[in-house]
Protein backbone atom coordinates (compact mmCIF):
# COMPACT_ATOMS: atom_id res chain seq x y z
CA UNK A 1 0.00 0.00 0.00
CA UNK A 2 1.43 3.40 -1.00
CA UNK A 3 1.55 6.42 1.32
CA UNK A 4 -1.06 8.12 -0.85
CA UNK A 5 -3.45 5.19 -0.45
CA UNK A 6 -2.84 5.18 3.32
CA UNK A 7 -3.68 8.89 3.46
CA UNK A 8 -6.84 8.46 1.41
CA UNK A 9 -8.00 5.53 3.54
CA UNK A 10 -7.41 7.70 6.62
CA UNK A 11 -9.80 10.31 5.14
CA UNK A 12 -12.36 7.57 4.45
CA UNK A 13 -12.41 6.73 8.16
CA UNK A 14 -14.73 9.73 8.49
CA UNK A 15 -17.44 7.59 6.87
CA UNK A 16 -19.57 5.23 8.98
CA UNK A 17 -18.15 1.70 9.29
CA UNK A 18 -21.15 0.07 7.53
CA UNK A 19 -20.67 2.40 4.56
CA UNK A 20 -16.94 1.72 4.32
CA UNK A 21 -17.63 -1.99 4.39
CA UNK A 22 -19.69 -1.62 1.21
CA UNK A 23 -17.86 1.13 -0.68
CA UNK A 24 -14.30 1.61 0.63
CA UNK A 25 -12.38 -0.65 -1.78
CA UNK A 26 -14.27 0.74 -4.76
CA UNK A 27 -13.71 4.33 -3.63
CA UNK A 28 -9.99 3.71 -3.14
CA UNK A 29 -9.69 2.09 -6.60
CA UNK A 30 -11.53 5.01 -8.23
CA UNK A 31 -9.50 7.61 -6.36
CA UNK A 32 -6.15 6.01 -7.20
CA UNK A 33 -7.17 5.66 -10.86
CA UNK A 34 -8.14 9.35 -10.91
CA UNK A 35 -4.69 10.47 -9.72
CA UNK A 36 -2.75 8.00 -11.86
CA UNK A 37 -0.49 9.57 -14.47
CA UNK A 38 1.22 8.09 -17.53
CA UNK A 39 4.64 9.33 -16.41
CA UNK A 40 6.20 6.67 -14.10
CA UNK A 41 8.31 9.28 -12.24
CA UNK A 42 5.29 11.46 -11.50
CA UNK A 43 3.30 8.39 -10.45
CA UNK A 44 6.06 7.31 -8.02
CA UNK A 45 6.31 10.81 -6.58
CA UNK A 46 2.52 11.06 -6.13
CA UNK A 47 2.44 7.59 -4.51
CA UNK A 48 5.02 8.67 -1.90
CA UNK A 49 4.34 12.35 -1.37
CA UNK A 50 0.87 12.99 -2.80
CA UNK A 51 -2.08 13.87 -0.60
CA UNK A 52 -5.79 13.87 -1.36
CA UNK A 53 -6.75 17.37 -2.55
CA UNK A 54 -8.92 19.58 -0.36
CA UNK A 55 -11.80 19.17 -2.78
CA UNK A 56 -11.56 15.35 -2.53
CA UNK A 57 -11.44 15.57 1.27
CA UNK A 58 -14.39 18.01 1.25
CA UNK A 59 -16.46 15.59 -0.86
CA UNK A 60 -15.81 12.79 1.65
CA UNK A 61 -16.61 15.11 4.60
CA UNK A 62 -19.88 16.16 2.92
CA UNK A 63 -20.78 12.51 2.33
CA UNK A 64 -19.94 11.61 5.94
CA UNK A 65 -22.17 14.41 7.24
CA UNK A 66 -25.04 13.37 4.94
CA UNK A 67 -24.77 9.78 6.13
CA UNK A 68 -24.76 10.79 9.80
CA UNK A 69 -27.73 13.16 9.75
CA UNK A 70 -30.25 11.14 7.84
CA UNK A 71 -30.07 11.48 4.08
CA UNK A 72 -32.08 8.88 2.11
CA UNK A 73 -29.35 6.23 2.37
CA UNK A 74 -28.54 6.78 6.07
CA UNK A 75 -29.04 4.31 8.91
CA UNK A 76 -32.17 4.61 11.13
CA UNK A 77 -30.02 5.84 14.03
CA UNK A 78 -28.58 8.62 11.83
CA UNK A 79 -32.07 9.44 10.57
CA UNK A 80 -33.22 9.97 14.17
CA UNK A 81 -30.20 12.22 14.83
CA UNK A 82 -31.00 14.22 11.70
CA UNK A 83 -34.61 14.60 12.83
CA UNK A 84 -33.52 15.63 16.33
CA UNK A 85 -31.11 18.28 15.00
CA UNK A 86 -33.88 19.62 12.73
CA UNK A 87 -36.26 19.92 15.70
CA UNK A 88 -33.58 21.58 17.83
CA UNK A 89 -32.71 24.03 15.02
CA UNK A 90 -36.40 24.81 14.46
CA UNK A 91 -36.88 25.44 18.20
CA UNK A 92 -33.86 27.76 18.26
CA UNK A 93 -35.21 29.58 15.19
CA UNK A 94 -38.62 29.87 16.90
CA UNK A 95 -37.04 31.53 19.95
CA UNK A 96 -35.05 33.95 17.79
CA UNK A 97 -38.15 34.71 15.68
CA UNK A 98 -40.28 35.41 18.78
CA UNK A 99 -37.58 37.73 20.16
CA UNK A 100 -37.32 39.36 16.74
CA UNK A 101 -41.09 39.92 16.52
CA UNK A 102 -41.24 41.37 20.03
CA UNK A 103 -38.19 43.53 19.21
CA UNK A 104 -40.02 44.84 16.15
CA UNK A 105 -43.17 45.62 18.15
CA UNK A 106 -41.14 47.25 20.95
CA UNK A 107 -39.19 49.32 18.43
CA UNK A 108 -42.40 50.55 16.80
CA UNK A 109 -43.86 51.35 20.23
CA UNK A 110 -40.77 53.28 21.35
CA UNK A 111 -40.77 55.13 18.03
CA UNK A 112 -44.39 56.17 18.73
CA UNK A 113 -45.86 54.72 15.54
CA UNK A 114 -48.37 52.31 17.12
CA UNK A 115 -51.81 53.98 17.17
CA UNK A 116 -53.53 54.33 20.58
CA UNK A 117 -50.37 53.21 22.37
CA UNK A 118 -48.25 56.24 23.29
CA UNK A 119 -44.53 55.60 23.71
CA UNK A 120 -43.07 55.65 27.22
CA UNK A 121 -41.20 58.79 28.29
CA UNK A 122 -37.61 58.38 27.17
CA UNK A 123 -34.62 60.71 27.66
CA UNK A 124 -33.33 62.24 24.43
CA UNK A 125 -29.87 60.69 24.81
CA UNK A 126 -31.45 57.22 25.05
CA UNK A 127 -33.58 57.89 21.97
CA UNK A 128 -30.42 59.04 20.14
CA UNK A 129 -28.64 55.86 21.23
CA UNK A 130 -31.52 53.75 19.92
CA UNK A 131 -32.16 55.48 16.63
CA UNK A 132 -29.29 57.83 15.94
CA UNK A 133 -26.41 55.37 15.55
CA UNK A 134 -25.92 53.66 12.20
CA UNK A 135 -24.46 50.59 13.89
CA UNK A 136 -27.56 50.29 16.11
CA UNK A 137 -29.74 50.38 12.99
CA UNK A 138 -27.51 47.68 11.49
CA UNK A 139 -27.98 45.52 14.62
CA UNK A 140 -31.73 46.12 14.73
CA UNK A 141 -32.22 45.25 11.05
CA UNK A 142 -30.01 42.16 11.44
CA UNK A 143 -32.02 41.08 14.48
CA UNK A 144 -35.32 41.48 12.65
CA UNK A 145 -34.29 39.03 9.91
CA UNK A 146 -34.90 36.07 12.24
CA UNK A 147 -38.66 36.44 11.91
CA UNK A 148 -38.86 36.13 8.09
CA UNK A 149 -36.14 33.46 8.21
CA UNK A 150 -38.28 31.35 10.58
CA UNK A 151 -41.43 31.83 8.51
CA UNK A 152 -39.58 30.89 5.31
CA UNK A 153 -38.25 27.77 7.04
CA UNK A 154 -41.71 26.70 8.19
CA UNK A 155 -43.18 27.33 4.72
CA UNK A 156 -40.52 25.10 3.14
CA UNK A 157 -38.39 27.86 1.55
CA UNK A 158 -35.28 26.37 3.10
CA UNK A 159 -32.67 27.96 0.86
CA UNK A 160 -33.98 31.49 1.46
CA UNK A 161 -34.28 30.74 5.19
CA UNK A 162 -30.66 29.58 5.33
CA UNK A 163 -29.32 32.70 3.67
CA UNK A 164 -31.44 35.09 5.75
CA UNK A 165 -30.27 33.34 8.93
CA UNK A 166 -26.66 33.59 7.75
CA UNK A 167 -27.07 37.33 7.11
CA UNK A 168 -28.67 37.81 10.56
CA UNK A 169 -25.78 35.96 12.23
CA UNK A 170 -23.12 37.86 10.27
CA UNK A 171 -24.81 41.23 11.00
CA UNK A 172 -24.95 40.53 14.75
CA UNK A 173 -21.37 39.21 14.79
CA UNK A 174 -20.03 42.26 12.94
CA UNK A 175 -21.92 44.50 15.35
CA UNK A 176 -20.48 42.66 18.37
CA UNK A 177 -16.93 42.87 17.03
CA UNK A 178 -17.53 46.56 16.39
CA UNK A 179 -18.82 47.40 19.89
CA UNK A 180 -15.88 45.56 21.41
CA UNK A 181 -13.77 48.40 20.08
CA UNK A 182 -15.67 50.91 22.21
CA UNK A 183 -14.13 51.88 25.57
CA UNK A 184 -15.85 50.16 28.48
CA UNK A 185 -17.29 47.32 26.42
CA UNK A 186 -16.02 43.78 26.86
CA UNK A 187 -16.27 40.72 24.67
CA UNK A 188 -17.77 38.37 27.25
CA UNK A 189 -17.76 34.58 27.56
CA UNK A 190 -21.52 34.53 26.95
CA UNK A 191 -21.28 36.70 23.83
CA UNK A 192 -18.58 34.38 22.41
CA UNK A 193 -20.66 31.31 23.30
CA UNK A 194 -23.72 32.95 21.75
CA UNK A 195 -21.77 33.43 18.48
CA UNK A 196 -20.64 29.79 18.58
CA UNK A 197 -24.26 28.64 18.93
CA UNK A 198 -25.33 30.97 16.11
CA UNK A 199 -22.66 29.51 13.80
CA UNK A 200 -23.70 25.96 14.76
CA UNK A 201 -27.32 26.89 14.03
CA UNK A 202 -26.40 28.16 10.55
CA UNK A 203 -24.35 25.00 9.93
CA UNK A 204 -27.33 22.87 11.04
CA UNK A 205 -29.61 24.81 8.68
CA UNK A 206 -27.35 23.95 5.77
CA UNK A 207 -26.84 20.30 6.75
CA UNK A 208 -30.10 18.89 8.12
CA UNK A 209 -32.68 20.64 5.95
CA UNK A 210 -31.76 18.51 2.94
CA UNK A 211 -33.98 17.29 0.13
CA UNK A 212 -34.70 13.98 1.87
CA UNK A 213 -35.92 15.75 5.02
CA UNK A 214 -39.70 15.58 5.55
CA UNK A 215 -41.65 18.85 5.24
CA UNK A 216 -42.15 20.81 8.44
CA UNK A 217 -45.72 20.56 9.82
CA UNK A 218 -46.77 24.21 9.46
CA UNK A 219 -49.70 24.47 11.84
CA UNK A 220 -48.00 23.56 15.16
CA UNK A 221 -44.87 25.59 14.37
CA UNK A 222 -46.90 28.66 13.35
CA UNK A 223 -49.10 28.31 16.45
CA UNK A 224 -45.97 28.07 18.60
CA UNK A 225 -44.83 31.55 17.51
CA UNK A 226 -47.46 33.59 19.45
CA UNK A 227 -46.86 31.41 22.53
CA UNK A 228 -43.12 32.07 22.37
CA UNK A 229 -43.83 35.78 21.81
CA UNK A 230 -46.08 35.78 24.88
CA UNK A 231 -43.15 34.52 26.98
CA UNK A 232 -40.85 37.24 25.61
CA UNK A 233 -43.52 39.95 26.05
CA UNK A 234 -44.11 38.72 29.62
CA UNK A 235 -40.43 39.22 30.35
CA UNK A 236 -40.40 42.68 28.73
CA UNK A 237 -43.35 43.66 30.97
CA UNK A 238 -41.43 42.30 33.98
CA UNK A 239 -38.45 44.48 33.02
CA UNK A 240 -40.71 47.52 32.63
CA UNK A 241 -42.38 46.86 35.98
CA UNK A 242 -39.00 46.61 37.69
CA UNK A 243 -38.30 50.23 36.65
CA UNK A 244 -34.71 51.38 36.98
CA UNK A 245 -33.59 48.27 38.90
CA UNK A 246 -33.40 44.89 37.17
CA UNK A 247 -35.26 41.75 38.36
CA UNK A 248 -33.16 38.74 39.53
CA UNK A 249 -34.26 36.72 36.48
CA UNK A 250 -31.98 37.64 33.56
CA UNK A 251 -32.52 36.78 29.87
CA UNK A 252 -30.57 33.50 30.09
CA UNK A 253 -32.66 32.72 33.17
CA UNK A 254 -35.86 33.09 31.12
CA UNK A 255 -34.46 30.70 28.54
CA UNK A 256 -33.42 28.25 31.29
CA UNK A 257 -36.90 28.31 32.83
CA UNK A 258 -38.53 27.74 29.41
CA UNK A 259 -36.12 24.88 28.69
CA UNK A 260 -36.70 23.16 32.04
CA UNK A 261 -40.48 23.60 31.67
CA UNK A 262 -40.40 22.08 28.15
CA UNK A 263 -38.33 19.13 29.41
CA UNK A 264 -40.66 18.53 32.36
CA UNK A 265 -43.72 18.62 30.08
CA UNK A 266 -42.05 16.15 27.69
CA UNK A 267 -40.90 13.80 30.45
CA UNK A 268 -44.39 13.84 32.04
CA UNK A 269 -46.07 13.17 28.70
CA UNK A 270 -43.62 10.35 28.06
CA UNK A 271 -44.47 8.72 31.37
CA UNK A 272 -48.10 8.78 30.30
CA UNK A 273 -47.13 7.31 26.93
CA UNK A 274 -48.18 10.43 25.03
CA UNK A 275 -44.92 11.44 23.40
CA UNK A 276 -42.56 9.89 20.92
CA UNK A 277 -38.84 9.14 21.07
CA UNK A 278 -37.97 11.83 18.55
CA UNK A 279 -38.18 14.80 20.92
CA UNK A 280 -35.81 13.29 23.54
CA UNK A 281 -32.58 13.84 21.52
CA UNK A 282 -33.81 17.27 20.30
CA UNK A 283 -34.50 18.42 23.86
CA UNK A 284 -31.19 16.90 25.01
CA UNK A 285 -29.33 19.02 22.42
CA UNK A 286 -31.26 22.14 23.46
CA UNK A 287 -30.79 21.49 27.19
CA UNK A 288 -27.01 21.14 26.76
CA UNK A 289 -26.91 24.33 24.64
CA UNK A 290 -28.95 26.33 27.20
CA UNK A 291 -26.90 24.91 30.07
CA UNK A 292 -23.75 26.16 28.31
CA UNK A 293 -25.38 29.58 27.91
CA UNK A 294 -26.33 29.71 31.58
CA UNK A 295 -22.84 28.64 32.67
CA UNK A 296 -21.23 31.21 30.35
CA UNK A 297 -23.23 34.12 31.76
CA UNK A 298 -22.53 32.98 35.33
CA UNK A 299 -18.84 32.89 34.42
CA UNK A 300 -19.17 36.45 33.11
CA UNK A 301 -20.62 37.57 36.43
CA UNK A 302 -17.61 36.02 38.18
CA UNK A 303 -14.97 37.30 35.74
CA UNK A 304 -16.17 40.76 34.84
CA UNK A 305 -19.08 42.43 36.62
CA UNK A 306 -22.76 42.01 37.34
CA UNK A 307 -23.78 44.12 34.30
CA UNK A 308 -26.42 45.79 36.50
CA UNK A 309 -28.15 42.56 37.57
CA UNK A 310 -28.90 42.25 41.33
CA UNK A 311 -26.84 39.92 43.51
CA UNK A 312 -29.76 37.45 43.67
CA UNK A 313 -29.23 36.69 39.96
CA UNK A 314 -26.18 34.54 40.74
CA UNK A 315 -27.77 32.05 43.20
CA UNK A 316 -30.87 31.96 41.01
CA UNK A 317 -28.63 31.29 38.01
CA UNK A 318 -26.87 28.46 39.87
CA UNK A 319 -30.26 26.92 40.71
CA UNK A 320 -31.22 27.17 37.04
CA UNK A 321 -27.95 25.53 36.02
CA UNK A 322 -28.58 22.63 38.45
CA UNK A 323 -32.15 22.16 37.15
CA UNK A 324 -30.87 22.25 33.56
CA UNK A 325 -28.16 19.69 34.38
CA UNK A 326 -30.73 17.32 35.90
CA UNK A 327 -33.07 17.48 32.89
CA UNK A 328 -30.12 17.30 30.47
CA UNK A 329 -28.86 14.07 32.10
CA UNK A 330 -32.35 12.54 32.05
CA UNK A 331 -32.82 13.45 28.39
CA UNK A 332 -29.36 12.13 27.43
CA UNK A 333 -30.12 8.81 29.16
CA UNK A 334 -33.46 8.57 27.32
CA UNK A 335 -31.77 9.45 24.03
CA UNK A 336 -29.10 6.84 24.59
CA UNK A 337 -31.77 4.18 25.25
CA UNK A 338 -33.73 5.21 22.13
CA UNK A 339 -30.63 5.13 19.97
CA UNK A 340 -29.61 1.69 21.21
CA UNK A 341 -32.96 0.31 20.09
CA UNK A 342 -32.35 1.49 16.52
CA UNK A 343 -30.02 -0.22 14.03
CA UNK A 344 -26.83 1.69 13.28
CA UNK A 345 -26.74 0.39 9.70
CA UNK A 346 -29.36 0.76 6.95
CA UNK A 347 -29.34 -2.98 6.24
CA UNK A 348 -26.99 -5.17 4.27
CA UNK A 349 -26.64 -4.36 0.57
CA UNK A 350 -27.39 -7.10 -1.90
CA UNK A 351 -23.85 -7.58 -3.18
Amino acid sequence: MTRLEERYRRVLRLLPAWYREVWEEDMVATYLASVDTSDPDDADYAADYGRPSWSEVASVVALAVQLRVGSACAAPRSTLWGHAIRLAALSAMLWHAASSAVGLLTGLWLAGVIPFLPPPPMPDEYRLLLYGQPWETFRIVGGLLWLPAYLLLVFGRWTAARWLTSIAVVATTVYMVWIERWPGDVFTVSSSYDRLLAILLVAAMFVVFHRDAPPIPRRPWLLALPYAMAVVIGYVILLQAAGSSLPPLDWDGVLSVVMVAAAVVYLSARRLGRSSDTWAPALAILAVAVLGMRAASLLDFALFRSFGWPSATVPLGIAEAIALSVVAVMLILLTSASMRRLPSTPGVRTW
Binding site: V22, D26, A29, A33, S34, E56, V61, A62
Partner: protein, 110 residues
Protein backbone atom coordinates in the same frame (compact mmCIF):
# COMPACT_ATOMS: atom_id res chain seq x y z
CA UNK B 1 -32.75 14.99 -9.97
CA UNK B 2 -29.34 16.53 -9.27
CA UNK B 3 -26.94 17.25 -12.10
CA UNK B 4 -24.37 14.62 -10.98
CA UNK B 5 -27.12 11.96 -10.75
CA UNK B 6 -28.39 12.91 -14.22
CA UNK B 7 -24.93 12.60 -15.74
CA UNK B 8 -24.16 9.34 -13.90
CA UNK B 9 -27.33 7.76 -15.29
CA UNK B 10 -26.48 9.10 -18.75
CA UNK B 11 -22.95 7.70 -18.51
CA UNK B 12 -24.39 4.22 -17.87
CA UNK B 13 -26.86 4.18 -20.77
CA UNK B 14 -24.68 2.43 -23.34
CA UNK B 15 -22.60 0.08 -21.19
CA UNK B 16 -21.74 -0.84 -17.59
CA UNK B 17 -18.88 1.24 -16.18
CA UNK B 18 -16.69 1.21 -13.06
CA UNK B 19 -16.29 4.24 -10.78
CA UNK B 20 -13.39 5.85 -12.61
CA UNK B 21 -15.06 5.09 -15.97
CA UNK B 22 -18.14 6.99 -14.78
CA UNK B 23 -16.00 9.97 -13.66
CA UNK B 24 -14.35 10.15 -17.10
CA UNK B 25 -17.58 9.70 -19.02
CA UNK B 26 -19.42 12.36 -16.98
CA UNK B 27 -16.56 14.78 -17.64
CA UNK B 28 -16.74 14.03 -21.40
CA UNK B 29 -20.56 14.31 -21.50
CA UNK B 30 -20.49 17.70 -19.80
CA UNK B 31 -17.53 19.05 -21.82
CA UNK B 32 -15.40 19.00 -18.69
CA UNK B 33 -17.84 21.15 -16.71
CA UNK B 34 -18.86 18.44 -14.21
CA UNK B 35 -15.82 16.83 -12.61
CA UNK B 36 -17.09 14.38 -10.00
CA UNK B 37 -15.11 14.02 -6.82
CA UNK B 38 -14.99 10.50 -5.41
CA UNK B 39 -17.12 11.35 -2.36
CA UNK B 40 -19.75 12.98 -4.58
CA UNK B 41 -19.77 10.03 -7.01
CA UNK B 42 -20.28 7.39 -4.33
CA UNK B 43 -22.83 9.50 -2.43
CA UNK B 44 -24.86 9.72 -5.65
CA UNK B 45 -24.25 6.06 -6.60
CA UNK B 46 -25.35 4.83 -3.17
CA UNK B 47 -28.56 6.83 -3.52
CA UNK B 48 -29.18 5.61 -7.11
CA UNK B 49 -28.60 2.00 -6.05
CA UNK B 50 -30.92 2.52 -3.06
CA UNK B 51 -33.60 3.94 -5.40
CA UNK B 52 -33.22 0.95 -7.75
CA UNK B 53 -32.04 3.09 -10.70
CA UNK B 54 -28.53 1.56 -10.84
CA UNK B 55 -27.29 -1.91 -9.89
CA UNK B 56 -23.93 -3.64 -9.74
CA UNK B 57 -23.09 -5.53 -12.94
CA UNK B 58 -19.88 -7.49 -12.33
CA UNK B 59 -16.48 -7.26 -10.64
CA UNK B 60 -13.07 -7.34 -12.35
CA UNK B 61 -9.60 -7.50 -10.87
CA UNK B 62 -7.18 -5.07 -12.51
CA UNK B 63 -3.62 -4.53 -11.23
CA UNK B 64 -4.54 -6.35 -8.03
CA UNK B 65 -7.55 -4.10 -7.37
CA UNK B 66 -11.19 -5.02 -7.49
CA UNK B 67 -13.18 -2.91 -9.94
CA UNK B 68 -16.94 -2.97 -9.56
CA UNK B 69 -19.00 -2.22 -12.66
CA UNK B 70 -22.45 -0.64 -12.49
CA UNK B 71 -25.31 -0.74 -14.97
CA UNK B 72 -28.56 1.10 -15.46
CA UNK B 73 -31.74 -0.75 -14.43
CA UNK B 74 -34.93 -0.59 -16.48
CA UNK B 75 -36.36 1.76 -13.87
CA UNK B 76 -33.22 3.92 -14.19
CA UNK B 77 -33.64 4.05 -17.97
CA UNK B 78 -37.28 5.17 -17.63
CA UNK B 79 -36.41 7.77 -14.97
CA UNK B 80 -33.60 9.17 -17.11
CA UNK B 81 -35.84 9.31 -20.19
CA UNK B 82 -38.51 11.20 -18.22
CA UNK B 83 -35.91 13.62 -16.82
CA UNK B 84 -34.34 14.17 -20.26
CA UNK B 85 -37.80 14.88 -21.71
CA UNK B 86 -38.53 17.34 -18.89
CA UNK B 87 -35.23 19.17 -19.43
CA UNK B 88 -35.79 19.19 -23.22
CA UNK B 89 -39.28 20.69 -22.72
CA UNK B 90 -37.78 23.39 -20.48
CA UNK B 91 -35.09 24.13 -23.07
CA UNK B 92 -37.70 24.28 -25.87
CA UNK B 93 -39.83 26.74 -23.87
CA UNK B 94 -36.82 28.97 -23.21
CA UNK B 95 -35.64 28.81 -26.84
CA UNK B 96 -39.12 29.66 -28.09
CA UNK B 97 -39.33 32.70 -25.84
CA UNK B 98 -35.87 33.88 -26.88
CA UNK B 99 -36.68 33.39 -30.58
CA UNK B 100 -39.88 35.44 -30.21
CA UNK B 101 -38.03 38.16 -28.34
CA UNK B 102 -35.37 38.38 -31.07
CA UNK B 103 -38.03 38.55 -33.77
CA UNK B 104 -39.83 41.33 -31.93
CA UNK B 105 -36.70 43.37 -31.15
CA UNK B 106 -34.30 42.78 -34.03
CA UNK B 107 -36.54 41.65 -36.79
CA UNK B 108 -35.02 38.19 -36.44
CA UNK B 109 -31.52 39.36 -37.46
CA UNK B 110 -29.60 37.89 -34.48
Amino acid sequence: MTEPAFFILTALVDEPRHGYGIVGEVSALSDGRVRLKVGTLYGALDRLVGDGLVEPDHDEVQQGRLRRYYRLTESGRRTLAAEAERQAANARAASERLRNWRLANNGGLS
